[in-house]
Amino acid sequence: MAIVTEYYLLLSAAVFCIGVYGILTRSNALIFLMSVELMLNAANINLVAFSFHHGNLTGQVFSLFTMAIAAAEVAVGIGIILVLYRNFQDVDVTKAATMRW
């Protein structure tokens, strides 16, 4: 007995909205990275769920590539946060208000 696709969509929406909540309420750059990761993984849940829904593996393979892109994004993001901390002694994104200082 397979789980109907709507429940996967609901789970994905919940995970995505937790990510949006984190982005909107916090100002810590590391929390931002985690929230973006949650949103990416919500998209992955959708891809895998519809892969099962249609009986086609394309979605599952695509979610693997999404994870690889997420890893690349986190690598660059942590580098940026490192530079942010070095320049402002803080990872608060609201403090970095100028491009040059």
Partner: protein, 127 residues
């Protein structure tokens, strides 16, 4: 000073209501959507089929899929670029001040910067 995790009390809950509203809208749409029953996968190894799809050997795969060989190679280049970019960003210049890993969340250095009386002292790395 220790830096154990604390519950954040400075959150902007009013902005967060937008996320909750988004969940309500999306949940309403998904619950009221009438999707057909999932068809599921045919018999055969899913893992092996994913492997075949990733390398473009879709004619050998048990489960239908598209070929992803080009995407696989492009992701390879992307990961290398991200790695080089991360190293370039993280590499510090010779005359920068802080030299140790900031295992205390940087509080010590921030406090020192706030007091700002002895900038000449470099961080000894005793943590």
């Amino acid at each position: 000073m220790t830096s154990r995790p604390r519950l954040a009390t400075d959150v902007n809950v009013v902005n967060g209501l937008a996320a909750v509203a988004l969940f309500v809208v999306m949940g309403y749409v998904f619950v009221t959507a009438s999707l057909p029953a999932p068809s599921g996968f045919p018999d055969g190894s899913i893992t092996a089929s994913i492997g075949y799809a990733m390398f473009g050997l879709v004619d050998q795969a048990a489960i239908e899929s598209e070929g992803f060989l080009v995407a696989f190679e492009i992701i390879d280049v992307l990961l290398v670029a991200a790695l080089v970019g991360a190293v370039m960003l993280a590499r510090r210049e010779e005359d920068s001040g802080v030299v140790t890993a900031l295992t205390d969340g940087g509080r010590r250095i921030r406090d020192r910067n706030d007091s700002a009386d002895d900038d000449a002292e470099t961080d000894g790395g005793e943590n």
